[in-house]
């Protein structure tokens, strides 16, 4: 069960980031996940885009803030602000473009430089519907993920294959990790993970 509009009540907030080369389909994955739509020609992301979807896991409402980053913004100090407080990062490549797969290692390094140590990563090979154009096998993806020590799956924003699974699985891993980590379960705004935070912010004066 899930809602597709910004919701006003939730048990936890998770900030997730989509990163990867330009054109691998980050924005399409996000659009499919949040609005259940697919558009083959999608405008280039400049800076970031941002969408919200609230999902339910084990009876808890989890508000996912998903940040979609521009593929060219890899080395910029401005990206530090994007990574701040991210609890999960989705590394995306295009299974029809070997160069985007080769660049996963660079993205992995960049992410490790900027993200918190406990940020959960997941590797995703998008466009798995393009059987005839495939340039990266599932085994290659799986082997790389094992080497990097992160989960892996292939997905297709076009056919909606594994898109929900991707986000639910990542959110579940983060929640599970944080159950066992008391340090991250408090009302911790600065560290990023704010799992089990108060359900809604009070209406106290802001100024």
């Amino acid at each position: 069960m899930a809602t597709r509009t910004p919701s006003r009540s939730y048990d936890s907030i998770l900030k997730l980031l989509l990163v990867g080369d330009s054109g691998v389909g980050k924005s399409c994955l996000l659009l499919r996940f949040v609005e259940d739509k697919f558009n083959p020609s999608f405008i280039t992301t400049i800076g970031i885009d941002f969408k919200i979807r609230t999902i339910e896991i084990d009876g808890k409402r989890i508000k996912l803030q998903v940040w979609d980053t521009a593929g060219q913004e890899r080395f910029r100090t401005i990206t530090t602000a994007y990574y701040r407080g991210a609890t999960g990062i989705i590394l995306v490549y295009d299974v029809t473009d070997a160069r985007t797969f080769e660049n996963v290692r660079n993205w992995f390094e960049t992410v490790n430089q900027h993200a918190n140590d406990d940020t959960q990563l997941i590797l995703v090979g998008n466009k798995n519907d393009e059987v005839d154009l495939r340039a990266v096998t599932s085994e290659q993806g799986s082997d790389l993920a094992k080497e990097l020590g992160i989960p892996f799956l292939e997905a297709s924003a076009k056919t909606n294959d594994n898109v929900n699974k991707l986000f639910f699985e990542l959110a579940s891993i983060i929640l599970e990790k944080n159950k066992n980590n008391e340090a991250l379960t408090g009302n911790n705004n600065s560290g990023g993970v704010n799992v089990n935070a108060a359900s809604t912010k009070s209406s106290s004066n802001c100024c």
């Binding site: 910004p6 907030i13 280039t44 970031i48 919200i52 100090t77 602000a81 004066n205 802001c206 100024c207």
Partner: protein, 348 residues
């Protein structure tokens, strides 16, 4: 934006701080370089793989003399080729030949000026579109395709120079966000500044980068954005001059929605999905008028605050904005009003 609207300035600043004289723009012998074929790029790439480097090339995002110019251009060309088919400003750009033209113009800009950055393609598309629409049937039959592309290229050099130096260079955009935008917001509308930066802790550069890099195209839509740019360009050939004030005015327009947001995520969502409306000419004139008034305050705190209050009153009537110092209180009032309206509506 109109064809040959402004006198070209004598010099066009480049992001690297060098100045390019306008002789280049007026050079009738100017010839756009052809885009290299895929095979040429691949053969060069193989050579590049073998090249020894003394520094980690991944740590250096900008072009340096140590790097092969071709390597940068070929990498840029890949991204240009990914971006141009995603240029959706107009159905015009679905034409393969026009896409090829845009690729060639961007490739030449990358080659002669600065490495391609995502966003240049939309600025180039905007210029292409405006010049295309401006050329009536009579003139278009006289202008060859290559001459038209040259015109787009030279207009692009003139037009995007200040935008690139201010908003695409990383240190500049960070500096602009903090030293210019935040400061102006603080002076024009302190409660709004406090709401965004102190209460929600939203760093300006995160959301403003798209607003400024695409000169409000995504926020206002093509028609509105073009009209704003026209006004800004009429005021000063450096259109970045009024940009911070225009954005502040646009924020004031959605101030009540910003106030009502429950958390920083909702605020950021709103900032990145700016509510679209079609503006009338008089709306735009008034907003530009406010921006010019702000610019002409020359940093005078009292005057800026006064213009800010006027602007708030123009958008949101029925509030004594000069007395509103606490947007938290305002949020409670708005909530209460909404509930009362709900109760009254339900009881009818």
């Amino acid at each position: 934006m109109q064809r040959n609207k402004t006198e070209p300035s004598n010099t066009v600043p480049t992001p690297h701080g060098k100045l390019v004289t306008d002789e280049y723009q007026e050079d009738e012998t100017l010839k756009l370089l052809p885009v290299p074929k895929e095979n040429d790029i691949n053969s060069q790439r193989e050579e590049l793989v073998k090249e020894q480097v003394s520094i980690d090339p991944l740590s250096e995002p900008t072009r340096t003399p140590n790097r092969s110019k071709f390597s940068v251009t070929s990498d840029s060309l890949d991204i240009i080729k990914v971006d141009v088919p995603r240029l959706l400003l107009s159905p015009l750009f679905t034409s393969q030949s026009i896409q090829d033209d845009i690729v060639q113009i961007l490739y030449n800009y990358d080659h002669s000026y600065t490495s391609y950055r995502q966003g240049y393609h939309e600025l180039c598309g905007l210029i292409y579109l405006v010049l295309h629409e401006d050329s009536d049937d009579e003139t278009s039959s006289l202008i060859s395709r290559s001459d038209f592309n040259k015109e787009v290229f030279t207009t692009m050099i003139n037009f995007i120079g200040p935008i690139v130096s201010q908003f695409y260079i990383e240190d500049s955009i960070l500096g602009w966000s903090v030293s210019i935008f935040n400061r102006n917001l603080l002076l024009v509308d302190y409660p709004l500044y406090e709401l965004l930066l102190k209460y929600h802790h939203i760093e300006t550069q995160i959301w403003v980068i798209r607003w400024v890099r695409l000169i409000l195209l995504r926020e206002l839509g093509l028609q509105n954005s073009t009209r704003f740019v026209d006004f800004m360009w009429s005021y000063d050939s450096d259109i970045t001059k009024l940009m911070s004030y225009i954005i502040i005015i646009l924020l004031i327009r959605i101030k009540l929605s910003l106030v009502e947001c429950e958390d920083s995520g909702e605020v950021l969502y709103l900032l990145l999905h700016y509510p679209y409306i079609e503006y009338s000419d008089s709306d735009i004139c008034q907003m530009i008028e406010f921006a010019i008034q702000m610019d002409q305050c020359h940093g005078d705190e009292k005057k800026l605050k006064e213009v800010g209050v006027q602007c708030n009153k123009w958008f949101h009537k029925g509030f004594k904005w000069e007395k509103v110092k606490d947007l938290g209180k305002l949020r409670l009032e708005l909530k209460l009003k909404r509930r009362v309206r709900g109760v009254l509506g339900g009881s009818k």
